[in-house]
């Protein structure tokens, strides 16, 4: 066993990607500035390994309610684009920002790990579990299937694969 130092930098509704703002989520208003400052901190603190983790499927080709990825102004807001164009822009923006983030970290000698997002359940879990328990139902088998999860991650995985340097760890 050996001691390691761990530093977490997280900001609600802000994916760990440089120069990205999540549309219509006011909570992440300073997301680009936050991630830029994190990059500087990684460099200044001499951090050698970085794990990028977040809810990323809203940033890939699948439009969701919770996250469409935009670049900061003056690029036109995503909501003004057609759905088809929006998908393409969102996906392309995610891919470019992911590449930029990876390259920026590589340029300062950081070992990068990426974590696929946890499966998104179709229910609010604590609420669903509570209701099931109150009704005497078995909730041990509650959850989406692995196949559903893999399908939901297909577009995001394709963008990860496009990086070309990732290895899966089982």
């Amino acid at each position: 066993m050996h001691a390691v130092g761990v530093t977490q930098a997280s900001y609600s509704s802000c994916p760990p990607l440089l120069n990205v703002r999540v549309a219509h989520v006011q909570a992440s208003h300073y997301c680009p500035e936050f991630n830029s400052s994190v990059l500087h901190a990684v460099k200044d603190l001499g951090i050698t390994r970085v794990l990028l983790a977040g809810v990323l499927d809203g940033l890939s080709a699948v439009p969701t309610r919770t996250g469409l990825c935009t670049v900061p102004r003056p690029v036109p807001p995503v909501k003004l684009l057609s759905r088809r164009r929006r998908r393409g822009r969102t996906s392309g923006t995610f891919q470019r920002r992911l590449q930029r983030t990876v390259h920026a970290l590589q340029s300062i000698g950081v070992e990068i790990w990426i974590m696929r997002q946890a499966p998104t359940q179709s229910v609010l879990v604590p609420l669903a579990l509570s209701r099931a328990a109150l009704r005497g139902r078995d909730y041990a088998d509650m959850g989406i299937t692995l196949a559903q999860y893999r399908r939901s991650q297909g577009p995001t995985d394709a963008l990860f694969d496009a990086l070309g340097e990732l290895r899966a760890h089982d």
């Binding site: 983790a53 974590m115 946890a118 499966p119 879990v125 604590p126 692995l146 990860f160 089982d170």
Partner: protein, 47 residues
């Protein structure tokens, strides 16, 4: 690439709970129990 589904979906079902404890605090954020549950898949980073 770290894949939390290796732990969360080991049986083919992506579980909402384990040992009677919720693995999520909503639909997509892991609870403290959930974070501990996927600890084994994160160990590779610390080797």
């Amino acid at each position: 690439m770290i894949d939390p589904a290796i732990r969360l979906c080991a049986s083919g079902l992506c579980m909402c709970s384990a040992g009677g404890q919720a693995l999520y605090i909503d639909a997509n954020h892991l609870s403290q129990t959930g974070a501990k549950f996927i600890e084994p898949v994160l160990e590779v980073i610390f080797r």
